[in-house]
């Protein structure tokens, strides 16, 4: 991983600065960059006997490239979780966006005979076959976030609820419309990458929840989860809709750009709702420039690691009567507003 | 013009023992050259003798490994083109060094633009360019026109204007007449005379001995990278002596004797009423197996276009082309090639050859299917065949793996001919077959063309040199302004008659 080589690189780039430009100073982002990784705190959770050290288990972890704040948080919280247990030996594969590379990573885990595999697939369908292979080899696979296309591919599945996210956002929107008594509201949506199933699920949930209160989306654009695309699409959207009552943006990472576009245009008439739950979003909620954000937990992989340990050690979830770990866990997508923002700010991630 | 007066002139350039080596080649091996102010100094030598390298040294484009250059009595190093230009040495290259996308005026002042503080003075540039062109007798060339759209002769004029745009004391002209017709050559000579009268020196390179006699003062002969003779009077030296010096052999500049005109053999190529809008009209002729037909005419009279239309590279607007009784689809090179027509184009380097590819690939490129099995090339067979042909045509240097770019003009032309030989052509169209080919190699090319004909190939030759057409062809067609104005056996017509025909009416 990048940790050990981080400082040498800083040194190299520091030299480059000195040579190239006197003015720039250095590229350092310290001081607080180290602290921000482990957003998911395990400390507050109930401690059970399950946390007592058991047989040492080897867990293989593979996720997509962390080219996005939320994904970076997924990876770092998983690593942090594994750190907490002396009986976990974590094998981490370099994050990739290439399904074929991820397949070969899983093949390596199988060859290494790890005790369990935690997999956040770049593409659920593409990784299904190799996951079945792992299961057939007797290695339990814990599927995180993007679901496989076969029920035989995973021992346990832990998912954020993309559809539920849309529903939460839509329901909250309905509530606002009702409370403020807005007649014929203009509702706009800034989606993420349209080709991804998760974006389609979120949009569908939003649409369905709005339908329940008799509303529809008036303007919709799709950005690319990047700040720049968020700004660009929002700028165009603001022109297309001179007045907006409700604006739901799927993703708080691109939300930085959306927010910039709003500020730029001096538009603050709408109820601005975010998605995912970045620390920026939490700050905006505190200072009132954002109404709410819908959590999409970045701690799923960390939970996946925990489940993998329990499964490999033949333990169950101690809070359940059932002796085995459940097959499928769908995380809630709660709405964070000014009222409850402090409860959730520990779980936020840096974009 | 008194020769003595010129001898008194200042010694402008004094090169001694110039050596330049490239990987594997010693291009210059001790060249001496003296040039006086106000003279036309001719540089003679076969292709590969080192003329091009020498002028590149003079232009600052190559740095010599050894030797000294004195310029107006002072030893200098010409480290880059700028250094040469700054001293007043301008060069007109044979490979025209113009930028096709820039206008005439922009090309003339390229590298020394008229500007103030980096900003161009455009109207001044145009006016100056116009003046220069007028001085060259070509005021009709629009200075805003893109150079790429000018014909070769026009580009030549632009190159000249560019050389004159510098404050020049010495102009090097590498085959300046190659792209010009006879009228334009005379204009060029007048410009040269005007220049020398002002004390400018000219180094003149040409393969045409008659031009050297007409314009030259002194001659220096190069052979194999060395100066073999210098200070020869241009008018007084016998042709035989010059050729002997250049080739090291006693050689006659000869045309092969054609067999008795083959009037009984089969007609292979029949062109009937061929026309191309704005280029030429109603061209009809027949070529029998074993016959060579020559097309004479001025540059731009439509000769090349006729060949290209027969070949299908241009789509005829009227008329037909028939090979062995079969009519060809108009505008289809594929149909022409399938019927057995081969074309050796005028612009050999840009149209005919894959310059950076090996000799053997250039020879086999049109007969690839012969060497392929299921799409895979049998390169051994390819090379062997090519080698056999190259040897029979005496392509030098030997070895078919060397890139064609490294061959001299004559040898490149042999490669083109070898390509069509390999294909067993029925009809061979040759456009300026000896352009850029030196005197020694010309006879070989002529003999080669004749031997192709005796094998039964129907040959059509286009050439700007009337002597070449008359010497080589059995039958001659004279083209003027897109019309055939004369057709008849070569022996019934002489050079004067041809010139009369091509000029006729032009004075009106």
């Amino acid at each position: 991983m990048s940790r050990p080589i981080k400082h040498p690189f800083r040194l190299v780039s520091g030299v480059a600065v000195a040579a190239l430009l006197v003015l720039t100073g250095c590229t350092s982002n310290s001081p607080d960059s180290e602290a921000s990784g482990d957003g998911g705190g395990g400390d507050t959770k109930a401690v059970s006997a399950n946390d007592d050290p058991g047989d040492t288990v080897t867990i293989g972890f593979s996720g997509p490239a962390a080219d996005h704040g939320w994904l970076a948080a997924i990876n770092s919280s998983a690593l942090a979780e594994a750190e907490k247990y002396d009986d976990i030996e974590l094998k981490t594969a370099e994050g990739t966006n290439d399904p074929s590379q991820q397949i070969s990573q899983v093949e390596t885990f199988i060859n290494d005979k790890v005790d369990a595999i935690v997999l956040l697939p770049t593409d659920g369908a593409a990784l299904t076959d190799i996951a079945i292979e792992a299961m057939d080899a007797g290695i339990p696979v814990i599927n995180v976030d993007r679901e496989f296309s076969s029920p035989f591919a995973a021992r346990a599945t832990i998912l954020g609820d993309n559809y539920g996210m849309g529903v939460s956002a839509g329901t909250y929107a309905c509530q606002v419309i009702d409370e403020k008594g807005i007649e014929d509201p203009v509702i706009a949506e800034i989606a993420g990458i349209d080709a991804l199933p998760l974006t389609q699920d979120r949009s569908k949930g939003f649409k369905d929840a709005l339908k329940a209160c008799g509303q529809t989306v008036d303007n919709r654009v799709a950005a690319e989860f990047t700040v720049e695309s968020g700004e660009e699409q929002a700028s165009n959207l603001l022109q297309a809709a001179p007045k907006i009552d409700i604006l739901w943006n799927h993703d708080d990472d691109q939300g930085v750009g959306v927010k910039a576009a709003l500020d730029n245009a001096g538009r603050d008439e709408m109820t601005f709702i975010g998605g995912a739950g970045s620390c920026n979003a939490m700050d905006w909620i505190r200072d009132g420039s954002m109404a709410a954000t819908v959590i999409y937990p970045p701690t799923q992989a960390a939970d996946g690691i925990k489940l993998a340990r329990l499964i490999a050690q033949d333990k169950g979830l101690s809070d359940l009567v059932q002796v085995e770990v459940p097959k499928r866990i769908v995380l809630n997508a709660p709405v964070v507003t000014a009222d409850n923002v402090d409860e959730y700010s520990d779980l936020c991630f840096e974009s | 013009m008194a020769e003595q007066a010129r001898e008194q002139q200042e010694l402008l350039l004094h090169m001694r023992g110039i050596v330049k080596t490239f990987p594997g080649v010693r291009a210059l091996d001790g060249v001496d050259l003296d040039v006086r102010a106000g003279e036309v100094h001719c540089l003679l030598g076969q292709n590969g003798a080192g003329k091009s390298t020498l002028i590149k040294v003079l232009a600052g484009a190559h740095r010599p490994d050894e030797g000294t250059i004195e310029w107006r009595g002072e030893q200098v190093t010409l480290a880059n083109p700028n250094a040469a230009i700054a001293r007043g040495i301008s060069t007109i290259y044979q490979e025209l060094d113009l930028v096709a996308g820039l206008s005439v005026a922009e090309n003339i002042f390229l590298g020394h633009e008229k500007s103030r503080g980096g900003l161009l003075k455009r109207s001044e540039t145009r006016a100056a360019a116009r003046a220069l062109l007028k001085r060259l007798g070509h005021g009709e060339i629009r200075v805003d026109r893109e150079v790429g759209t000018l014909p070769a002769s026009g580009q030549q004029i632009v190159s000249m204007a560019r050389a004159l745009s510098h404050d020049t004391r010495l102009i090097v002209m590498d085959e300046p007449s190659a792209a010009l017709d006879q009228q334009e050559v005379q204009t060029l000579f007048q410009v040269i005379r005007d220049l020398t009268a002002e004390g400018v020196a000219v180094v003149y390179i040409s393969h045409r001995l008659e031009e050297i006699r007409q314009i030259g003062d002194r001659v220096t002969v190069l052979k194999d990278g060395r100066t073999v003779a210098t200070d020869l009077p241009a008018r007084g030296t016998a042709t035989a002596d010059l050729i002997r010096l250049m080739t090291g052999r006693e050689i006659e500049y000869v045309f092969p004797e054609g067999p008795a005109a083959a009037t009984d053999s089969k007609v292979v190529l029949e062109v009937d009423g061929l026309g191309l809008t704005k280029k030429f009209a109603d061209v009809s002729f027949q070529v029998r197996a074993g016959e060579i037909v020559g097309l004479a005419g001025l540059v731009g009279a439509g000769r090349s276009e006729i060949l290209e239309t027969v070949y299908g590279a241009r789509k005829a607007s009227t008329g037909t082309v028939t090979v062995d009784g079969k009519r060809l689809r108009a505008g289809s090179v594929q149909a022409a090639v399938r019927a057995g027509i081969g074309l050796a184009p005028e612009e050999r380097k840009s149209q005919g050859l894959l310059l950076d590819q090996a000799v053997y690939r250039n020879i086999t490129v049109s007969s690839m299917s012969r060497f392929s099995r299921a799409g895979f090339l049998d390169r051994g067979a390819e090379r062997a065949q090519a080698r056999e042909l190259a040897e029979s045509l005496d392509v030098r240097p030997t070895g078919v793996d060397r890139p064609v770019r490294n061959l001299s003009g004559g040898n490149q032309q042999k490669v083109v001919l070898a390509r069509w030989l390999l294909r067993d052509c029925r009809v061979l169209l040759l456009d300026e077959p000896t352009r850029g080919v030196d005197v020694g190699a010309r006879s070989e090319i002529y003999a080669l063309i004749r031997s192709l004909a005796t094998r039964g190939v129907a040959v059509v030759v286009v050439s700007s040199e009337v002597e070449e057409v008359l010497g080589l062809a059995d039958r001659v067609l004279v083209v003027r302004e897109g019309l055939v104005v004369h057709e008849g056996p070569a022996e019934d017509i002489d050079e004067h008659k041809v010139l009369d025909l091509v000029m006729e009416g032009s004075a009106a």
Partner: protein, 355 residues
Amino acid sequence: MTQERTAPAHEGAEPPAQAPLAGSGTPQGSGLAQQVLGSSVGRNLGLVVALLILCGVGIWTAGEQFASVDNALTILRLASVIGVVSVGMTFVITGGGIDLSVGAIVALSSVWSTTLATQTMAEDYHWSVIVLAALAVGTGCGLVNGLLVSYGKVVPFIATLAMLASARGLAEIISERRTQIVHVTDFTKFFRADVIGIPVLVIIFALVAVVGWVVLNRTTFGRRTFAVGGNPEAARLAGIDVRRHTVALYAIVGLCCGIAAVMLVARTTTGSSTHGTLYELDAIAAVVIGGTLLSGGRGTIVGTVLGVLIFTTLQNVFVQNDLSSSVQAVAKGLIIVAAVLLQQRLAARSNTGSS
């Protein structure tokens, strides 16, 4: 000799002898229409028509919402960042090269100029520190490209492909893949302001385009750029230092990337390694539909600016009509092909005469 000089033979023989070979282009064949079509204005005509059609579609489908001053400024503001990059790209392509690394350089410049260290310095001294940092990084990357291409003799495609990979990688390392938010309020205030109703970003774009046009068309540097791109050997023999010129061209595009990075940082209030994604393709597309020859030797800043505006307007029209980005991508492809085909027709017409 004299008789040939004095005889009208030459003067008279010349035009008819040359005419067939010279094709049209000779003075007698050129009407006004042809001159217009042959000029750069003519070449851009197709683009102006395309842009007007797009605007017409926009007005027709979205009415006042599209035709408002606000919307026009939004389109210009969105065009400004990629526009600046495309102006730089025009120089490199005209000079016979290509730069695939523009997007990555924008990302690296944006990240480098918004690190905590740079921002702290900017707060201590002046916000222009951020600007200088971005410009220096951009120009530096461009210099490296240029040196590799001209002195290292690496093919431009490969040299800049390497820069594409490594600059974005370095941006990720420096930013630790985080989005770096700008806290220097003076900086954002300056660049997000308006001057007599026109956003500063648009003014910067206009300045870059005007300066680019002047440099390319009215200076010796520009003239030599055409020569270097059209025929490098001829340029060298004319006494132009082709290698140094090439380095300068890549430095210019690097500088433009630095400027674009500053604008992007101001627009989004962030620096990020994801900034400038696929800028290389957008810029090349704009430059090529603008009429610049991909093989070098011919280039037009006006065409490039029109090309950028066409793409940006297209995007705006699609959002106004609530159409998906996939439809937009298809339309973009069609426009590229249509524009290039149209240009070829116009060029062919101006070459073959007014008939």
